[in-house]
């Protein structure tokens, strides 16, 4: 009798373990992208390219903020610069360095265009993103709840 109850307990534990494991697999993982990585997808998806991922950390090891944000005119806003390949090959924005002179040239498409298709323009790990509940007005509250906010 005792062995039987133990066996059922074992079963329960195993079942729970399996369920928990499935839960881990199904639950959305928190974004682990490097803090301040910028995804730019103003035009990329529409042009059939992967969105651009800009690693802030890599560039700040080599340049001070001033170089891009004062000299090259990058605004402090993800997606706010409306960068296109036409501007880049004219030596604007990324093209000021990514020209085969200061850094590698633009034919290495996939080094920048490396994001998962469909990822919206954003800056990863930002305070607003990491808030538990949005601090701003949600436009479509019903949809957000369906999407899993406040589970």
């Amino acid at each position: 009798m005792k062995a039987k109850t133990e066996r059922t307990a074992m079963w329960k534990f195993t079942l729970f373990g399996v369920l928990a494991w499935m839960g881990v697999l199904v639950a959305p993982e928190p974004a682990q992208a490097e803090y301040a990585d910028v995804v730019m997808n103003n035009y990329a998806d529409a042009a059939g390219m992967r969105p651009v991922v800009f690693p802030h950390w890599y560039h700040r090891i080599r340049f001070r903020c001033k170089v891009c944000h004062a000299d090259l005119g990058f605004k402090f806003k993800a997606g706010g610069n409306k960068i296109t390949m036409a501007k880049i090959i004219d030596g604007k924005f990324c093209g000021a360095c990514h020209n085969g002179e200061v850094s590698w040239s633009v034919e290495n498409c996939g080094l920048c265009h490396s994001g998962i298709p469909g990822t919206p323009t954003h800056i990863s790990g930002s305070t607003v993103q990491r808030l538990v509940a949005p601090a701003y007005k949600i436009l479509d509250k019903k949809k957000t709840v369906q999407d899993g906010y406040n589970k």
């Binding site: 729970f16 682990q32 490097e34 803090y35 950390w57 200061v102 994001g115 990863s124 305070t127």
Partner: protein, 233 residues
């Protein structure tokens, strides 16, 4: 009629008895807790899960922790692993080796790394010899709330940035002209244009980096209007 009276008496007796049973039920776990020593694992660990109990009763329901803040591009959730060049990108951990750490953001103390001479990023696109225009001026901003006052150091900011990055658009270079509050910063205005996106974010652990000047010893928090006018006070 009789049945009505009968059911009425049952209802009354139930109403009287139910709270008593509820009290008894509530009291039993309390007495158990008093006799049974509570181990620290039980306090800090997750709620012992049983299938019969709602799985909504977990610890830290709303706490989101990032397990690996400096994941390699292929593991970071935004890079496409179908894209071959993703694997040519440098993983941040390799670059961060030897740099001073912090508890937030990239988990790197960039300002300290610069001060310690561990990094020497260019101030010009092509000429590595150009030195930054550094201004050492601290601005003290009194804060209404009980947290320490803010000291804004120009030095670390001008080591990285140019005056025109902040003035006059984000911060009007005039005394009392800039109204700043934490909500605005968290939503990406004022200091939040960088802090919370690129430079260290406003978190509980980083408050004191800006709120660093203690209030005078005789300082008491001002009473809110609702307290002063409270009719039940």
């Amino acid at each position: 009629m009789k049945t009505v009276i009968k059911s009425f008496t049952i209802a009354i007796s139930a109403a009287v008895l139910l709270p008593v049973s509820a009290i008894a039920f509530e009291a039993s776990p309390l007495s158990l807790a008093a006799t049974k020593p509570v181990s620290s694992a039980e306090v800090t660990g997750s709620v012992p899960a049983k299938i019969s109990v709602s799985n909504a009763n977990v610890f830290n329901r709303l706490l989101k922790k990032i397990e690996d803040p400096n994941a390699a591009p292929a593991d970071d959730g935004i890079h496409d692993i179908e894209n071959e060049p993703t694997f040519a990108l440098q993983p941040p951990k390799i670059a961060y080796k030897g740099l001073p750490t912090s508890e937030y953001g990239n988990h790197i103390d960039w300002v300290k790394a610069l001060d310690d001479g561990l990094l020497d990023p260019r101030y010009d696109r092509v000429d590595p010899s150009i030195e930054p225009f550094v201004m050492d001026l601290d601005i003290v901003r009194p804060v209404k709330a009980s947290v320490p006052d803010v000291v804004f150091p120009h030095k670390p900011h001008t080591q990285w940035l140019h005056c025109s990055n902040c003035h006059p658009k984000i911060f009007i270079p005039q005394r009392l002209a800039n109204q700043i509050n934490m909500s605005a910063i968290i939503l990406g205005q004022k200091c939040g244009v960088c802090h919370g996106k690129v430079s260290f974010p406003p978190t509980t652990k980083s408050c004191k980096k800006c709120h660093s000047k203690p209030k005078p010893s005789d300082w008491t928090p001002p009473l809110s209007d609702a307290t002063v006018k409270n009719p039940w006070r």
